[in-house]
């Protein structure tokens, strides 16, 4: 399965990544960073098709997708 990395130091909680994900693989979490921004999190990674839209649309370079095959 693909995995998401969210950088809590760079993320500003805009949730643009959540809205951009075509499969709803990402969701808002109940984690809040020290600045008070709500962090996104993996919601249902079965729905991730590896399009990397979240990574492309993030204004803060705070989310990255690790594609399963890339590891092996």
């Amino acid at each position: 399965m693909n995995r998401l990395s969210i950088n809590p130091d760079y993320c500003k909680g805009c949730l643009i990544c959540v809205d951009a994900c075509p499969g709803k693989a990402i969701g808002a979490s109940d984690r809040v960073n020290p600045k008070g921004y709500t962090l996104p999190a993996e919601r249902d990674m079965q729905q991730c098709n590896g399009c990397k839209l979240c990574e492309i649309v993030c204004p803060d370079f705070a989310i990255a997708v690790e594609i399963e095959e890339e590891k092996s």
Binding site: C14, L15, E55, V57, C58, P59
Partner: protein, 271 residues
């Protein structure tokens, strides 16, 4: 932790400490345009042998203008409000083989910098102008700009803007730019493709990217992005319908002699 692939092009630390996260407000479109631009530049570097050293990024003043030397691990200059294009012109004349990319806000490009803008297009200088149009002066508090849509309330037009806005793409096209396109931050893949084309184009490439300032528009960024999708129509599909919508797409893509090439021909007469 997997790191964002574009962080390799960014300065995360400077002499005075960390530079990231950026100064931009949460959900600001300027950061998205930076991400799209780096994706385009990354593809160019990987696919056609252009080196990182061949790029120069120049900006003026404004929130959108903060995208250059603060964060970019490229040759870059954060310069004077409205004057990014004269400085880009100087860099180009010093070394015509450079790939020059200018980040400019709508105010920077078309209010204080309007004259430089039309003359750069008229000369068809080989620069790529990425105009982050949020329809107001973001950095100074959300005042009305010559690009603010009619009726929009801003800090200085609380009853709605009564003026008409400039159409930046028409201005670029009629002034002589070789490549002219408009997209929005809600069109990531189209914007990346267009930036690649613009950088590859010999001559002035002007790409307007409608962008959200969620702070001064007092609207959540996700809502503004949805509105960009709903309120735009592609020039290829519009066929005269949807005049109430904003046209997006490529408006002009033509071959016109570029300034430094013409100048080189004159110099060659004296070899």
């Amino acid at each position: 932790m997997t790191r964002h692939p574009m962080l390799k092009y960014l300065k995360e630390k400077g002499p005075a400490g960390p530079r990231m996260p950026t100064i931009m407000c949460p959900g600001c479109g300027a950061g998205q345009v930076l991400n799209y631009t780096l994706h385009a530049v990354d593809e160019i570097i990987h696919n056609d042998g252009t080196r990182k050293e061949d790029f120069v990024f120049i900006s003026g003043v404004g929130c959108s203008a903060r995208l250059t030397s603060h964060y970019l691990n490229f040759d870059s200059g954060w310069t004077i409000h409205g004057r990014s294009l004269p400085i880009a012109t100087g860099a180009l004349l010093a070394n015509p083989s450079l790939k020059i990319v200018v980040f400019t806000g709508d105010g920077d490009a078309m209010a204080i910098g309007g004259n430089h803008f039309i003359h750069t297009c008229r000369r068809n200088l080989d620069v790529t102008i990425l105009c982050i149009n949020n329809g107001l002066y973001g950095m100074t508090g959300g005042q009305v700009a010559p690009t603010t849509p009619t009726g929009t309330a801003t800090a200085t037009t609380p009853y709605g803007n009564m003026e008409e806005a400039f159409d930046l793409c028409k201005m670029a096209e009629t002034s002589g730019a070789s490549y002219v396109a408009r997209w929005t931050t809600a069109h990531p893949r189209q914007t990346i493709k267009s930036i690649k084309k613009g950088i590859g184009k010999k001559g002035t490439a002007f790409i307007e990217i409608l962008s959200q300032c969620p702070i001064h528009m007092k609207t959540p960024p996700v809502e503004m992005l949805r509105d960009f999708k709903a309120n735009t129509v592609s020039i290829n599909k519009s066929r005269g319908h949807g005049e109430d919508k904003i046209l997006i797409g490529e408006f002009c893509h033509m071959e016109r002699p570029e300034w430094t090439e013409k100048y080189q021909k004159i110099l060659e007469q004296f070899d």
